[in-house]
């Protein structure tokens, strides 16, 4: 059995509709946030969980972390049903919510950590060594005496991560951890997560909208939409499936007169040259390049790298999300 087992997970929310004229009671509507989602995750895996807003990502994380009780299905994490044995379960997990803080706003972060030590009943020696390790890995030494409210967004995220890992959880949930961070902070955060995963085999599940997070960290990605799991596998496989549009920019010495392109290639003449977009499945890149060379002397050519965001957008569109 895998570390996390999720079978036919269901969760409904009752949403009250807006007040309509002539009716005393507001109508209720049942929204199926999750419709029979199943998956399993092994120990030490780094899984990305993506999907458009409202797909049910946060709901899944909230159920897995014991905050919400589902309406159907089975979930076990390390053999424990999260919402039935909440306290036993949450001892082993760490959760970082991107937009809400777990630390105390107005006091130095070291005070927050010492309170967390008491909450989790971490033995003093263990606490000290772990704190030392985390503060040096997350570059927090200088900030320990600073109140949380005075930290920048990136510093705060690092402080939150430290707080959620003090008790050495075996499983870490990250809800949009890099939201609003600058490039340097993002890279540092990703390096740290990789290190934590390598060093302790911590299972990490992260939800994000930043495809670079997934590319950098996750060997496996799950796509959720309309409360259903739509894809589960390697990121590369996902991308190949939706790698339908590629862009080429080309410039000729003189105006190319006999450029003939097969159907399905979009051609756009601009001041800077010609912009082409094509589907590599219909027209192999080598063939296109041959055609382009026949048309004249090429002075500049750029093959734009595949843009993951565009691909994901194309996928969401195709799946009607």
């Amino acid at each position: 059995m895998s570390y996390i087992e999720v079978n036919n997970l269901k969760k409904n929310f009752i949403v009250k509709k807006k007040h309509e004229k002539g009716k005393i009671l507001r109508e209720k509507e049942i929204v199926n946030a999750l419709k029979e989602v199943s998956f399993s995750v092994d120990k030490g895996e780094l899984v990305g969980y993506i999907g458009p807003n409202g797909a049910g990502k946060s709901t899944t994380v909230k159920i897995l972390s014991g905050i919400l009780t589902p309406d159907g299905g089975e979930v076990t994490v390390g053999g424990i049903v999260p919402w039935k044995e909440r306290k036993r379960h949450v001892k082993n997990i760490g959760v970082v919510f991107g937009q809400r803080s777990q630390l105390w706003w107005d006091v130095p972060i070291i005070d927050s950590y010492s309170l967390l030590r008491d909450i989790y009943r971490i033995p003093q020696g263990d606490y000290e060594s772990r704190l030392k390790e985390l503060t040096s890995a997350l570059l927090l030494e200088e900030l320990m005496r600073t109140p949380l409210r005075l930290l920048s967004l990136g510093q705060r995220m690092r402080a939150e991560l430290c707080g959620s890992l003090l008790h050495r959880p075996q499983l870490l949930f990250l809800d949009e951890p890099t939201i609003g961070l600058d490039a340097v902070s993002k890279l540092a955060l990703r390096d740290f997560l990789k290190w934590e995963n390598d060093e302790y085999g911590t299972t990490i599940m992260l939800t994000t909208h930043d495809m670079e997070d997934i590319e950098a960290l996750c060997s496996r990605v799950m796509v959720l939409g309309h409360g259903k799991k739509l894809f589960d596998g390697k990121l590369q496989d996902l991308l190949e499936r939706y790698d339908t549009v590629r862009n080429v920019k080309i410039k000729y010495d003189q105006t190319a007169t006999n450029l003939r392109l097969p159907e399905g290639v979009n051609c756009n003449q601009t001041e800077d040259g010609i912009e082409l977009s094509y589907n590599p499945a219909e027209l192999p890149t080598s063939k296109l390049l041959a055609l382009l060379q026949e048309a004249g002397n090429i002075s500049e050519l750029t093959l734009q790298p595949q843009n993951t965001d565009h691909m994901i957008a194309a996928m969401y569109k195709e799946l009607d999300l």
Binding site: G66, I67, R100, D106
Partner: protein, 266 residues
């Protein structure tokens, strides 16, 4: 024991947070003094005008007022997580962070809020108790002190329990329900006077539903050597326990409510 240590440490940290803004803190503490002092003035004016109320002397009235003030504001000071901050804990998702920690939810809610500004209100209440005791010529003995302490402690639990009704509604509706204020703040205003000045329906309300009469008025009458509304004197020791009962029932309901917690989006 461990839980108590955690509570004291949490409150210490919150106190530190409050003192991050010292001028605001002291101004508000002063404002509380003016507010509660005003309430006290009302009682003093009534006593000045009427001398006695349905057989209760001025000193007796101060004593009743004092018990209510001390109990109510002790509860607001140490139970702020329930009496004031709970709706915002739900709205901002702080409750989610409590749920992912291996401690009781109610413990963490109580560890999550304190209102030290109420200290001046408590001081006014203590002053009223001392005045009441002097004017009523109470002869204190260990048993009377015990009953007073019991009465205040149980009243605190009762008030906390009543505020929990609001918290439970809040779990379902996200917003707070003002109706419950009728028995919390309303109860405070009404029950700072002896219960027998009120008509029967109000007396029933504050004996059966929100039993301030049982946690405060019965033991207070006993301390003042007054007849206990026709009840035997041992009831002065027993009836205050209804406060603990209300609290226990509300704690159970609160945890049932948490099971149906829906969380807010992120």
């Amino acid at each position: 024991m461990n839980t108590l240590k955690l509570y004291i440490k949490s409150i210490g940290i919150l106190l530190k947070s409050h003192l991050q803004y010292p001028s605001s803190f002291f101004m508000q503490t002063l404002a509380q003094l003016v507010m509660e002092g005003g309430e006290m003035m009302v009682v003093i004016l009534i006593v000045d005008r009427f001398e006695s109320l349905k057989g209760w002397s001025g000193g007796n009235l101060y004593f009743f007022f004092g018990i209510m003030s001390v109990s109510f504001y002790l509860t607001e000071m140490f139970g702020r997580g329930i009496t004031g901050d709970f709706p915002s804990m739900i709205r901002t998702g702080r409750l989610d962070t409590f749920l992912v920690r291996p401690r009781g939810v109610l413990t963490q809610v109580l560890c999550g809020g304190t209102d030290p500004r109420r200290i001046t209100c408590i001081a006014v209440g203590v002053a009223a108790l001392i005045m009441g005791s002097n004017f009523s010529n109470i002869v204190w003995n260990p048993l009377k002190v015990l009953v007073l302490v019991e009465s205040i402690a149980m009243s605190c639990l009762l008030i906390l329990g009543l505020f929990m009704i609001e918290a439970i509604f809040c779990i379902f509706s996200v917003k707070s329900v003002e109706l419950v204020n009728a028995i919390t703040y309303g109860g405070r205003s009404a029950c700072q006077y002896p219960i027998d000045i009120y008509p029967l329906p109000l007396r029933a309300l504050f004996t059966v539903i929100a039993p301030f009469a049982l946690t405060m008025h019965v033991p207070a009458s006993w301390i003042l050597d007054k007849p206990l509304y026709g009840w035997p004197s041992w009831t002065a020791f027993v009836t205050p326990l209804s406060g603990a009962l209300v609290f226990a029932v509300m704690t159970v309901l609160f945890h049932l409510g948490i099971r149906h917690y829906r969380s807010t989006g992120s």
